[in-house]
């Protein structure tokens, strides 16, 4: 009887709750793209992605640029190659015994990731709390810190945090880089919170239901069933966030933290800001950041492929 209605009502609802048709108008890729964007929004922004041969190309272009600048060096002046060799230790770890420069970028990124992860895990668990005020409050905190520019957060902490903490019996000085750590850990916290929440809600509800039928309490379900499965899902986006953080640390140079960008500018200054040195030094800076971030990014992609198993 209803020969025509089957054609009209052939829409099904997909996982995101949106209407979908099975008409072959756009490939299933369209739905996948949309779903991927939703996950991206939840679990971390863009993924670093570069083929090794491209990395080689970047390196080759750098060497070629430096060589051409070297050839153009006037008589009696230090060329870009010598200048890089001369200043590389300074840019990489600063004056002796200080552990600044690029090493400070790494230190800031380690600590910011550590604090951000601990706070973000707690915030993420609050986001799946059964108590409405806790859920709403943690949601608001997460969204607020996720959607504020990193630089604004960094400025806030750098300028409003005291330079020392007076506990009455002891005064703890807070150096600039410590404040930068706190400033960077705030956006990391908010994003890790979303990663945690995303991982928990991405588990099929059957996991919760079967745990309940086996008389697990909510806490037991969470700690013994849900979270152990989530850890696997959270590791690739977590590493990706670390890469994004590591690439963001140079902005602390705006506040005068003695990291690689600050020291590159200082080294250039010491060489008299010669225009032929500037590109080589900034390219060197790009390369050292790249050499550090790139393998980690590749590793995260590899892990994600490895963990991409059926639920």
């Amino acid at each position: 009887m209803d020969t025509g209605s089957g054609m009209l009502n052939n829409s099904i609802t997909d996982i995101d709750g949106a209407k979908q048709t099975d008409l072959p108008v756009l490939l299933p890729l369209a739905a996948q793209t949309r779903h991927a964007a939703l996950i991206e929004r939840r679990e971390g922004t863009y993924r670093l992605n570069m083929q090794p041969r491209h990395a080689l190309w970047v390196f080759a272009i750098f060497v070629a640029a430096a060589a051409s600048a070297q050839a153009a060096t006037p008589e009696g002046l230090i060329g870009p190659f010598e200048a890089i060799f001369k200043w590389a230790p300074f840019i990489l770890w600063g004056p002796e015994g200080a552990l600044t420069g690029f090493a400070l970028n790494l230190i800031i990124s380690f600590f910011a990731m550590l604090f951000g992860t601990v706070a973000g895990a707690a915030l993420g668990l609050m986001q799946i709390s059964l108590l409405l005020p806790v859920r709403r409050g943690s949601w608001f905190v997460t969204q607020f810190f996720r959607n504020s520019p990193w630089l604004v957060l960094l400025f806030t902490i750098m300028l409003l945090f005291p330079f020392e903490l007076d506990l009455g019996f002891v005064v703890i000085p807070i150096p600039d880089w410590m404040k930068a750590v706190i400033g960077f850990s705030l956006p990391v916290m908010a994003n890790i919170s979303e990663v945690v929440r995303g991982a928990v809600i991405s588990l099929p509800s059957g996991q919760w239901e079967s745990a309940e039928s086996l008389a697990f309490s909510r806490r037991q379900t969470l700690w013994m069933i849900i979270l152990p499965q989530c850890v696997k899902r959270m590791i690739p986006p977590w590493i990706n966030w670390y890469c994004i953080l590591a690439m963001a640390t140079p902005i602390s140079s705006i506040m005068g933290v003695e990291e690689s960008v600050t020291f590159t500018a200082q080294a250039l200054n010491a060489e008299g800001d010669r225009p032929e040195l500037i590109p080589v030094f900034y390219a060197f800076l790009l390369i050292i950041h790249f050499i550090y971030t790139y393998p980690i990014a590749r590793w995260s992609i590899k892990l994600e492929k490895k963990f991409a198993v059926k639920t």
């Binding site: 756009l26 991206e40 570069m50 400025f155 963001a248 790009l286």
Partner: protein
């Protein structure tokens, strides 16, 4: 009691100094900063979309050199810090261009051919454009081969079928991903502070340097940027709904 009087009184009573709400000079300054920021955001947004549009088209080019060039561009801009990119554009490319076509003002100082605002738009546009290229490409891949062939059968050239058939479909597919990237770009525009573009961040810095009201300015900055993100996300969702073609996924 007027709006300005209220904040003046607030300052006198509590010390909370929202100076830009009761003093004409600071009010003008902050409006100017907001205007520059919005111009910067809109300009780099449009530029990045144009870069993405062209990049995604060139990715399907017949020439191998063009394809490799685009791939190299995407990889380079995705894998380096945007702040260093801005510095690189401003100090390195800016210097080079001024070396070729720079002019000198009456005092004998070199004038930049492209100012810091221009370089911020260019570098941020290329930064976000690299992501947009990838996003558009994923959308283009979602357009079935049969649609492409149908366009070809109707006598469309490669460029025409791209602008009239494939891209409009692909654009709808990749709007959610684009949304993520544009929000990211909006937040990244604050980095223009690093090359002294007089945008919101920079203006706020000037105001708190003059009035020593860092906390108040920070509160304002948060409201400003979170508000802008909210408006952008809301607008993109509206747009997405408006552009929906019934039956197209």
């Amino acid at each position: 009691m007027g709006f300005a009087d209220f904040f003046l009184e607030l300052y006198e009573n509590t010390g909370w100094n929202f100076v830009f709400l009761y003093e004409q000079y600071e009010y003008d300054r902050i409006l100017e900063g907001m205007w520059v920021s919005i111009k910067l955001i809109v300009a780099s947004l449009i530029f990045s979309l144009v870069v993405g549009f062209i990049g995604a088209w060139a990715q399907g080019a017949k020439s191998k050199i063009v394809r490799y060039g685009i791939a190299g561009y995407i990889q380079l801009f995705r894998n380096t810090p945007p702040f260093v990119q801005i510095l690189f554009f401003y100090f390195v490319l800016g210097n080079w261009i001024d070396g070729f076509i720079g002019t000198y003002d009456a005092g004998g100082y070199q004038e930049s051919y492209i100012d810091s605002f221009g370089w911020a738009v260019i570098s941020l546009g290329f930064f976000a454009g690299a992501f947009n290229t990838e996003i558009f490409r994923s959308g283009i891949e979602a357009v079935p081969e049969s649609t492409r062939e149908a366009a070809e059968a109707l006598g469309y050239t490669r460029l025409m079928s791209y602008t009239h058939v494939i891209f409009p479909l692909a654009f709808r597919v990749c709007l959610p991903a684009l949304n993520n990237n544009l929000v990211n770009l909006l937040k990244t525009t604050t980095l223009a502070y690093g090359i002294a573009v007089p945008e919101m961040m920079y203006t706020a810095n000037q105001i708190w340097s003059d009035n020593v009201n860092v906390s108040e300015m920070m509160i304002f900055l948060f409201i400003f940027y979170v508000g802008l993100v909210a408006i952008l996300v809301y607008g993109m969702h509206k747009w997405e709904n408006n552009m929906k073609i019934p039956g197209y996924g």
